[in-house]
């Protein structure tokens, strides 16, 4: 009985989040237009020298975001390496 109630509460929560997401994404269903930022990126693409627009945005216009992402990767890998060193130094627990 208590298991059924938990299932019910979880389903209600998921349905609520589904309704909220659908409400938030309503605009993207209706108008499919390229934004003004995108137009700017396309017009000034020669300045970066990269033909691939994804790379131009990733490494030139928004390189600061990529820097933050690189730092997140660095910290996560450092955590994995430190966890491995703990195992090898203490031996078998």
């Amino acid at each position: 009985m208590i298991q059924l109630r938990k299932e019910f509460i979880t389903l209600a929560l998921v349905l609520m989040i589904a309704v909220l997401l659908l409400h938030g994404l309503q605009m993207t269903y209706e108008d499919k237009e390229i934004s003004e930022v995108d137009e700017y990126y396309k017009e000034h693409q020669e300045k970066t020298g990269a033909d691939n627009l994804v790379e131009a945005i990733l490494l030139d216009y928004r390189a600061y975001d990529t820097f933050g992402e690189v730092m997140v990767l660095y910290i996560a890998i450092a955590g994995v390496i430190i966890l491995g060193k703990i195992v090898t130094e203490e031996g078998e627990p």
Partner: protein, 110 residues
């Protein structure tokens, strides 16, 4: 209405349901991966315009929105990093407590 937006939304909700209902920590990390995949599909579908080609200059006259592609390229790498760190932590917890159940880690009942 089987387009990328709806399928991405459904995948996110499936991952959320699994994450709230399971007690196995490895299954929780798998649900995190499922939610990430749904998010990637959703964002790439938001940037699609009908008849658009790849966002490379000179490839096609009309191209899709390249900004969601860029954001999702970042999200894939963050997904890799969080999965690796989570699995390493789960390995240490399993060595410590000899179980994968998350309720056992706190010692409480549920």
């Amino acid at each position: 209405m089987l387009n990328g937006l709806n399928i991405g939304l459904m995948t996110i909700l499936v991952g959320l349901y699994g994450m709230t209902r399971t007690k196995n920590s490895i299954k929780m990390i798998m649900c995190l991966g499922i939610m990430g995949s749904g998010l990637i599909l959703l964002f790439v579908s938001i940037g699609y315009i009908p008849g658009g080609g790849a966002p490379i200059v000179g490839h096609s006259p009309e191209m899709v929105d390249p900004i969601p592609h860029t954001v999702m390229l970042t999200a894939i790498v963050i997904d890799l990093a969080t999965t690796a760190l989570g699995l390493a932590l789960v390995y240490h917890l399993h060595q410590q407590y000899n179980t994968l159940d998350v309720t056992e880690y706190m010692g409480g009942e549920d």
